[in-house]
């Protein structure tokens, strides 16, 4: 390249730079002076498309064409533009014109953080989500390169803590529309280090091997060191602390001082500083308290320090405990013995005094609130069936005084005085006490005059009607605090995010105040537009339909959160962040951001379980129609594909394998059918074989379409069409061996189900009502080979009794009515066996084992042409069901163990017309009578629902004739012979359902 061509660009750059350097202060001052006072002929922005909304640009404008230029105004203009937060740089140029000066604003827009994602070779832990959170690049916040550097440092520290010392981390940014910057954290995790033998310093008083075992950093028996993770490291330190605790070294400290990495061996050497401290024994020479309780009461265990304050707190807790156990006069003191060698002893001396029952709690002096309202807030409770000694302690008595006082103060009784005293020897007995709460209510302060200023003109006047304060209302700080919350929330939902609230009171008479609320709504903000980021496979229209805010709407964070909730309900996003871009900037129109992290599209669930129940016999030996206790393992697996086609649909494959049932099901779920969030559709196909009814194995192949419609929050309707092929096999009852029974039947059935759930808790209800109504019609018009109508109604009520008990009741009534039965079809086969009602078991009628209620085989053929045999007694199901369950649920031990007394009655009946309330079974072939059972159950509360054990006693279980032997032996018996002529083996054997039944399960019965 010729030298002059190479020199030319350098020269022009120098001149260009020199030109700009002329804009040094002197030149600036001269320029300002020369243009000061000249008429502004035009104002232009470069670039012409400014980052501010047009309305905001006009709002912050200071200079105006036609006005004289003031340099002070130029400063103000730049300052106001910057205050909007939308600019990274602003320069103002002036160009001379014949009639004045033309002003040019040269601007550079600010940028804001948008979608942040982690990708590359990520070795979990940490997961991609944790990496993104660690970066701390807040959505919508101003973009700052320093934050990127800090993010990288944070991530490097995170990786090091997880043993990934050789990780390569790179942050890539990309400009997006609307001033957003997306950040991609590209990671190559590299190899993960393993632990090595830690360096141990201090006074551990444990062997190295014991310490290593306590950390869990080395796999037992194998001896290989585990791979480093942050969680394992902290669990290891905690493990050492727990080891010391077990050895009563309560003041031990375990600190990780360093993690030294050796890149050659890819090993990490932890450095531990351990100080065992002495063994601390806490003894109670005069009383017995379990170790677990002692740990709860004496905070020395949790705090890891022997501190006088902690010992005093332990003293207080122990006193409260014994008082609550019926020892109100208990005296607790402690003594710290001098340390002796490696041992320190603390003794708590507990003098319990006589045991006394809290028999009454009196409340005196209350007029404004009734006793029930006050007692609801009290801890103290007199003795009852569930608490023999009552619930009393000094600290709780004081707490109850405070609770009652707070109740009055929040209702305007500012001068209330609540005291209490204990009456010993109540009723003349040494073992009885009573507590008397005396309330001096004082005068209720009221609001004589009330006004709220600042809400006029913003359409929030009706808000005043929602406030607790008003003329004549009680005056209290609680009311003011609640009103403040109501007002600020209402204003926030109308775009007034910066509203402030103040109040002023002035006396206006005896026990009266004039109250004024001063509200400054601040500027109202509006939605400029909605910006969506992070979608990869999801169709944007699916998301846009859920976003109900539009440009120009008031900016409302509650509305944003509601939209966020409805988007989560799509079930296809792992995380949804919503933010306001440039939240602190002074602009009226703001972008609302929704940033999405899509969930993993595939989920796999595996399950292992077992059933312990009275399982049926094999088909060769039919001596036990009721079944004997057996064990049935089960495996389940399901694969879900979320967000099919980016439209939020789900495809699910479910399988179940056990000795009693095998099932494969495929479902396609369409939520928000026709854009209606209350409506969904499910298309399913099912192949199922089950033998949970001892009489036969049922096979079912079914396709169905179901539409679900939520009418209200508590009412859901399900509308279903199913077409299935049902057949039975392994039939143990020869009398049923007739062609019509054994042939598969095709059933086309349309059904509707209405569910109304007004319970307070669906897993463990304490109040409310639950109704379901299911009705279905199978008809040849729907391709069915059988015509019948089937309905099942259920009503359950839950009534709280006092504070602790619940009375629960459930009634189930159902029936199957065949119609248009083809001529020649016996009534017994009009409804296929698997479609009949079967009942009995832990969730229906506890007088019976599973599916054992109702009519049984008596040996008569079900239809002409069938085989007459000796009776087997196997259940046949029925065409009607009527069951009623009553339960009294109550606490038994503490909060987690409850008891249940129950009464079940009902049965499965041959038909609707067979339903009877008769108590006695007429003969062993009569099953249409009402069976009763009473019993007792234990419930243990767990996070997934109560574990349930029920023991039932049937008052009038059925007797029936059965057979002892195999089917072949049964068929060899001639039923036409008189019983006295039958060989012994063929004699019908009188059997029965046992009086006692037991059940184990999860969840309430109903």
């Amino acid at each position: 390249m010729p030298a002059n061509r190479r020199a030319a660009p350098r020269w022009s750059l120098i001149v260009y730079a020199a030109t700009w350097s002329a804009a040094l202060p002197h030149a600036l001052l001269r320029a300002q002076s020369s243009f000061e006072g000249k008429t502004i002929v035009s104002i232009r922005y470069e670039p012409s498309r400014q980052p501010l909304a047009e309305a905001d640009l006009k709002r912050v404008a200071v200079l105006a064409p036609g006005a004289p230029l003031r340099i002070a105004d130029v400063e103000e203009a730049i300052t106001r533009l910057f205050a909007t937060g939308r600019y990274a740089d602003i320069q103002v140029d002036a160009e001379s014109r014949a009639s004045g000066v033309a002003i040019v604003f040269r601007t550079e827009a600010a940028r804001f953080f948008g979608h942040v994602q982690a990708s590359g070779q990520i070795s979990n832990p940490p997961s991609a989500a944790v990496i993104v959170n660690t970066a701390e690049l807040p959505l919508g916040a101003p973009f700052d390169p320093d934050l990127l550097a800090a993010a990288k440092r944070n991530i490097e520290r995170l990786f090091a803590a997880n043993g990934l010392y050789d990780a390569q981390i790179r942050l890539e940014t990309a400009d997006e529309p609307d001033q957003q910057v997306s950040v991609r954290i590209v990671v190559d995790s590299g190899p993960r280090a393993r632990y090595s033998m830690p360096t141990i310093r201090g006074e551990p008083k444990l062997s190295d091997a014991t310490i290593v075992r306590a950390t869990g950093w080395r796999i037992r028996f194998i001896g290989r060191w585990r791979k480093v993770t942050q969680a394992l490291t902290s669990e290891g330190i905690e493990g050492i602390s727990k080891k010391y605790q077990k050895e009563d070294r309560l003041t031990a400290t375990a600190t990780l001082t360093a993690l030294d990495y050796d890149p050659e061996t890819v090993r990490v050497k932890p450095s531990l500083d351990l100080h065992a401290g002495p063994k601390v024994y806490i003894r109670l020479p005069q009383a017995r308290v379990s170790k677990s309780r002692l740990k709860r009461f004496v905070p020395v265990y949790q705090e890891g320090a022997v501190d006088p304050d902690l010992l005093v707190e332990g003293e207080r807790n122990l006193r409260d405990y014994f008082q609550s156990r019926g020892y109100p006069d208990v005296n607790v003191t402690f003594r710290q013995l001098p340390a002796s060698g490696d041992q320190e002893t603390i003794e708590y001396f507990i003098t319990r005094g006589p045991r006394r029952k809290l028999v009454r709690v009196f409340i005196r002096g209350n007029h404004y609130f009734d006793d029930a309202t006050i007692r609801e807030r009290m801890y103290l409770e007199p003795a009852s069936l569930f608490d023999r000694w009552g619930r009393y302690s000094d600290s709780f008595r004081k707490r109850d005084e405070q609770s009652i006082a707070d109740l009055y103060k929040s209702n305007g009784f500012r001068d209330v005085l609540v005291t209490s005293r204990v009456e010993t020897r109540y009723g003349g007995s040494d073992s009885r006490i009573a507590v008397v709460f005396s309330i001096e209510e004082g005068v209720q302060w009221r609001i004589s005059r009330f006004s709220a200023t600042g809400l006029e003109g913003i359409g929030a006047g009706p808000l005043v009607r929602l406030l607790g304060a008003g003329p004549g209302q009680p005056y209290s700080e609680t009311t003011i605090a609640e009103d403040r919350s109501v007002i600020l929330q209402a204003l926030a939902s109308r775009g007034f995010r910066h509203a402030t609230f103040q109040f002023r009171t002035s006396p206006s008479g005896p026990h009266e105040v004039a109250l004024t609320y001063r509200i400054d709504p601040g500027p109202q903000e509006f939605v400029r537009d909605v910006v969506i980021s992070g979608l990869r496979t999801t169709k944007p229209e699916l998301v846009q339909k859920q976003i109900t805010i539009r440009p120009g709407d008031p900016l409302s964070l509650p509305a944003d959160r509601e939209i966020q909730r409805s988007l989560y309900n799509l079930g296809i996003f792992a995380e949804i962040n919503t933010a306001v871009q440039n939240s602190e900037g002074d602009e009226t129109y703001k972008y609302v951001l929704f940033d999405f992290t899509e969930a993993h599209r595939y989920t796999l669930n595996l399950g292992v379980g077992a059933e312990i129940a009275q399982l049926g016999p094999t088909t060769t030996a039919i001596s036990e129609p009721v079944g004997a206790t057996g064990f049935s393992p089960r495996l389940s697996a399901s694969i879900n594909r979320l967000n099919v086609g980016g439209a939020g649909h789900t495809l699910a494959l479910q399988t179940l394998l056990s000795t009693l049932e095998q099932r494969i099901g495929v479902s396609f779920i369409v939520p928000r059918l026709f854009d209606n969030p209350s409506r969904s559709a499910t298309y399913s196909f099912l192949w199922d074989t089950s033998r949970d009814i001892r009489t036969f194995s049922s096979h079912r192949e079914e396709g169905s379409v179901q539409l679900a419609q939520r009418f209200t929050r508590r009412t859901v309707g399900l509308f279903r069409f199913a077409y299935r092929r049902v057949s039975i096999s392994d039939l143990v009852i020869p009398a049923l061996l007739i062609p019509q029974f054994l042939q598969p039947a095709r059933i086309g059935i349309v059904s509707a189900n209405l569910v109304q759930d007004h319970r307070d808790n669906s897993v463990d209800p304490h109040a409310g009502i639950y109704n379901t109504a299911d009705i279905g019609v199978a008809s040849t018009a729907l391709g069915s080979q059988r015509n019948f109508t089937k309905f099942l109604l259920r009503n359950a009520t839950y009534t709280p009794i006092g504070k602790h008990m619940v009375f629960a009741r459930q009634t189930v009534f159902g029936g199957i009515v065949p119609f248009n039965t083809p001529p020649g079809t016996p009534p017994g086969v009009a409804v296929p066996l698997p479609e009949r009602f079967f009942g009995g078991g832990d969730i229906s009628l506890r007088a019976f084992p599973e599916n054992q209620a109702g009519p049984r085989d008596t040996g008569s053929p079900a239809a002409p042409g069938g085989t007459q045999t000796e009776p087997t007694g196997f259940p046949l199901g029925g065409d009607a069901v009527l069951i009623n369950n009553l339960e009294l649920r109550f606490p038994l031990i503490g909060q987690n163990i409850g008891g249940v007394l129950f009464h079940d009655m009902g049965n499965i009946y041959e038909s609707l017309s067979s339903i009877s309330f008769r108590y006695r079974q007429r003969d062993p072939e009569d099953f249409d009578y009402m069976v009763h059972a009473v019993g007792f159950g234990i419930r243990y509360r767990t996070p997934v629902g109560p574990l349930r054990v029920d023991l039932a006693y049937g008052l009038n279980p059925p007797r029936f004739y059965g057979f002892s032997g195999t089917i072949q032996q049964l068929l060899a018996c001639n039923p036409n012979l008189a019983p006295s002529q039958l060989p012994a083996q063929c004699q019908p054997r009188l059997q029965g359902i046992g009086h006692f039944q037991y059940f184990f399960s999860i969840g309430q019965t109903f």
């Binding site: 030319a8 660009p9 202060p25 600036l28 300002q32 020369s34 160009e95």
Partner: protein
């Protein structure tokens, strides 16, 4: 070729348009402009009675003062600290004016430094506000003990000559207080700078 044409046209364009102000530094959402830095140099020079030297070192110092002022301003707004009253500002302005023989001399001096009375008044009001802020925020944190005073007296004997300790105690207490308040203010400013977002658009001021 095209690149050179672009550069020339930009140069030619810049030759017609003149910059009348621009952003030098941004503190949070608040800009510090070139014109503000210049004015800061001039007003300071005027108050100190020295020539206004507008060079890069002076600009850097002025910019640093303006950053500190902005951080203090933010704190005053957030904490609702009281501002200087007009009466106090008038009094201080009067004291500055009295340095000159007559009002005409005062006006001429302002003109020579390229500042207006409004600029001066604003600066004086700000100074009073800052003093009030420092008094409210930092002075209560300073406790000067008898031992401190004695130690100062003993280590600065030459300064006090024959004056007994009792005579100079109030002055020493005030000096120590001033030093400690200054130290607290500097510590606070250091911390505020670390946590604030300060962007130098004009790199020569960093």
């Amino acid at each position: 070729m095209l690149r050179r044409l672009f550069l020339y046209s930009a140069f030619l364009a810049s030759a017609r348009a003149v910059i009348i102000d621009r952003t030098a530094i941004v503190v949070g959402h608040t800009p510090i402009l070139d014109s503000q830095i210049n004015r800061e140099i001039r007003v300071t020079a005027f108050l100190n009675g020295k020539p206004a030297a507008i060079n890069s070192a002076a600009r850097k110092e002025a910019a640093s003062r303006l950053i500190d002022q902005q951080l203090i301003r933010q704190q005053i707004r957030a904490g609702d600290y009281p501002l200087a009253s007009r009466a106090d500002t008038d009094r201080l302005l009067g004291a500055v004016e009295s340095r000159y023989a007559n009002p005409a001399g005062f006006t001429e001096a302002l003109r020579k430094y390229g500042i207006t009375e409004a600029d001066l008044r604003e600066r004086l009001s700000w100074q009073l506000t800052v003093l009030r802020f420092i008094d409210t925020m930092f002075r209560p944190q300073v406790v000067v003990s008898e031992a401190d005073i004695e130690h100062y007296y003993n280590s600065h004997r030459s300064q006090f000559g024959d004056k007994p300790l009792a005579a100079v105690k109030p002055a020493i207490a005030e000096t120590i207080t001033g030093e400690r308040v200054n130290q607290l203010l500097n510590n606070w400013l250091d911390q505020a700078r670390k946590s604030a977002r300060i962007v130098y658009l004009d790199k020569s001021l960093a």
